[in-house]
């Protein structure tokens, strides 16, 4: 990888609020022209990280480089990055045009140049006919696009988006996702997107960084993070998973051999750092199959059925009282065990992964 391909280089960033550590030793390299997502539960530090890049939070330790230049000590108005705020923060006393023009004028552009650029950007977000409206006269979706236009107008090197879709309703949110991706492709600007919504992260991003408790948990593509989570937290946070207690008896070549609660021996891929001893096996509910007890890895009794519409969850309580959830399609042909019925559970080696804590 070439140095200049890195748009934002975050190295060993720590942020303290008094004695509280909001970010602990975070290192990340965000590539040029990438749609990069910071994902995590609320309060995990993802917004703090975004705000350190924007310049609204100073960092306690570490460095932030933008295309090679250290920007950690620059105030926000000296950083060539722009932000789309969570509640948009459109200036309520200015119309759409003046909002979008604001940054251009502050950069010293003359009015004609700025106006031309405003026209361009409003066209990009399809708001040309709303140029004279006040923010309060726009719908939530339109406000969101004004915020995007305002942040894109100065042609920032990196665009920061702080949960920009969270204020929209579900239908609109799905439409805007596609639009955002498209705009990112058209402009070629690096997007750093913060969200707590895993579905949003999985569908939009080139790469995702999962953050919890101020620490970076895993960085990778949507598929990597979903299918090869590096630890228990990631497996649990992204989608749903069963975590089965196992005893690891051997680890070699990235594979682990372990004993299941039923006593059966099972070999599957293991996360980095897996060791002998107690461990957790992660299996997604949709990758578990119910069979006859005789030919299965695990056995238990169906203890609960949860209706989800297109699918159903069947909870199976194993002999050691652990509960494994199985996702089955909700159709006439699927056999759904009744409560108390003894069932066997099977899964492929490729569907399971041994995790570290």
């Amino acid at each position: 990888m070439h140095m200049t391909d890195v748009a934002v280089d975050i190295s060993n960033v720590t942020k303290m609020y008094g004695s509280f550590t909001a970010l602990k030793d975070v290192s990340l390299a965000i590539q040029d022209n990438e749609f990069f997502t910071l994902l995590g539960p609320s309060g995990c530090g993802k917004t703090t990280l975004l705000r350190t890049i924007a310049g609204f939070e100073d960092i306690t330790k570490g460095a932030i480089r933008l295309y090679g230049d250290n920007i950690a000590d620059l105030p926000p108005n000296k950083r060539p990055v722009n932000t789309v705020f969570q509640q948009y923060a459109l200036f309520p006393h200015m119309n759409v045009t003046d909002n979008v023009k604001f940054g251009l004028l502050r950069l010293g552009q003359d009015d004609a140049t700025a106006s031309a650029r405003v026209g361009e950007v409003l066209e990009l977000v399809q708001l040309t006919q709303f140029a004279d409206r006040l923010p309060s006269q726009l719908s939530g979706g339109q406000q969101q696009r004004v915020a995007l236009a305002r942040a894109l107008a100065p042609n920032p090197k990196v665009l920061l988006l702080d949960e920009p879709l969270s204020a929209l309703d579900l239908k609109l949110r799905q439409a805007v996702r596609l639009e955002l991706q498209q705009i990112q492709h058209e402009t070629g600007i690096t997007f750093i997107f913060v969200t707590h919504d895993q579905e949003e992260a999985l569908t939009m991003s080139d790469r995702i960084a999962v953050i919890a408790d101020g620490r970076l948990q895993q960085v990778g593509s949507a598929r990597e993070i979903y299918e090869a989570p590096s630890n228990k937290f990631v497996a649990d946070f992204i989608g749903e998973t069963n975590l089965i207690d196992v005893t690891v008896i051997d680890v070699s070549n990235g594979n682990a051999t372990c004993t299941l609660p039923s006593g059966a021996t099972f070999t599957c891929p293991a996360a980095d750092g897996a060791q002998k001893g107690a461990g957790h096996l992660s299996v997604r509910p949709e990758r578990v199959a119910m069979t006859k007890p005789a030919k299965s890895l695990l056995q238990g009794k169906a203890s609960r059925q949860i209706y989800l519409g297109t699918d159903m969850h069947v909870e199976v309580t194993l002999d050691d009282q652990e509960v494994v959830t199985v996702r089955v399609q909700n159709s006439e042909t699927t056999h759904i065990p009744s409560i108390g019925e003894t069932v066997g559970l099977n899964f492929e080696a490729g569907a399971a992964r041994l995790l570290v804590d």
Binding site: Y17, G18, F20, R51, F56, E57, D58
Partner: protein, 307 residues
């Protein structure tokens, strides 16, 4: 905990961080120079010696405070006895202010409660109606009261013409007139803070209490009063403190018998007494009393903040 966290967040990265003292400079200059410093000088003044025919001599003296507390006879050489004249004036002021405060609370609490339990527009209109008289010139309000309660004023005329009384009730120049004046002057001060605390009160708590078999009186005593207590205390202080040092009500509505601290002080500077160090000393004593009340209030506030 979470709250503390967000405030520290905001404060570390505020828009005008580092400019705090610069922005406060004008306030410091104006209030520091024209209030803090003058009060300091007043303190010094209260320890100076008075000269005959007004004026002062720059010589340290406890005479002003001595005059307040002790009576040493006409020539100042009798053994010191406690001087009751000024203590009585203070005591009367406290009593008058206390009575006014009590009646303000009696009327103000139900009013504040009633307004706070209105909804939307009607609430702000009620509130507005209560605030307007406060903004009307205090002097004019006191004059109005004086006009109303004169022996030959509209109140007596009305009562006589309706036959309720045959001779005018003598109100003006009594303690009651002063109490009425103080009550009338500062009633809005009682309503507003109580209103604010009732408005903040979560009525789901009352419902929960009623659900748990509490009677209305129990609910009022155990649930509502503790929550609105800070508002009541604030209201009482806002009425009591200005009443204590009031000048207009005792001067215009009262007479010689209703002399209060404000008139005593005024007399030292504007009137015939002309004893500036003594006036400064009386002012210092008044200020100290007010500060004691306010400190007590601040303590209460921080205590309820901890809860």
């Amino acid at each position: 905990m979470a709250g503390a966290l967000t405030t520290s967040k905001a404060s570390n990265n505020s828009t005008y961080a580092g400019l705090g003292n610069l922005l406060m400079l004008p306030s410091w200059l104006v209030i520091g120079f024209f209030l803090v410093l003058p009060v300091g000088m007043m303190l010094i003044y209260s320890f100076l010696t008075k000269e005959f025919r007004g004026g002062i001599i720059w010589e340290f003296s406890l005479a002003a405070y001595d005059q307040f507390f002790f009576d040493r006879g006409l020539f100042g050489d009798d053994p010191a006895r406690i001087e009751w004249t000024y203590i009585k004036i203070f005591w009367r002021s406290i009593w008058q202010a206390g009575v006014a405060t009590f009646f303000c609370l009696l009327i103000g609490f139900p009013t504040a409660w009633f307004i706070a339990t209105r909804t939307g527009n009607s609430r702000s209109i009620w509130l507005f109606l209560i605030t307007i008289p406060y903004w009307v010139n205090l002097l004019i309000r006191t004059i109005s009261m004086k006009f109303l309660i004169r022996d030959t004023g509209p109140l007596n005329e009305f009562l006589i013409s309706t036959g309720i009384i045959s001779d005018p009730i003598h109100i003006i120049n009594t303690n009651f007139a002063v109490q009425l004046g103080l009550f009338y002057s500062y009633l809005p001060f009682m309503v507003l803070p109580i209103y604010a605390s009732v408005e903040r009160y979560n009525f789901a708590l009352s419902e929960a209490a009623a659900d748990l078999y509490a009677s209305r009186i129990t609910t009022l005593r155990q649930i509502i009063l503790p929550t609105v207590k800070p508002g009541i205390i604030a209201g009482c202080i806002l009425v009591f403190v200005p009443s204590l040092g009031a000048f207009l009500a005792p001067d215009l509505l009262g007479g010689a018998k209703t002399f209060m601290i404000g008139s005593l002080i005024e007399e030292q500077f504007k009137g015939n007494a002309g004893n500036w160090p003594f006036g400064a000393a009386v002012s210092m004593i008044l200020l100290s009393m007010v500060l004691i009340v306010l400190t007590y209030y601040a303590r209460q506030q921080s205590k309820s903040g901890e809860r």
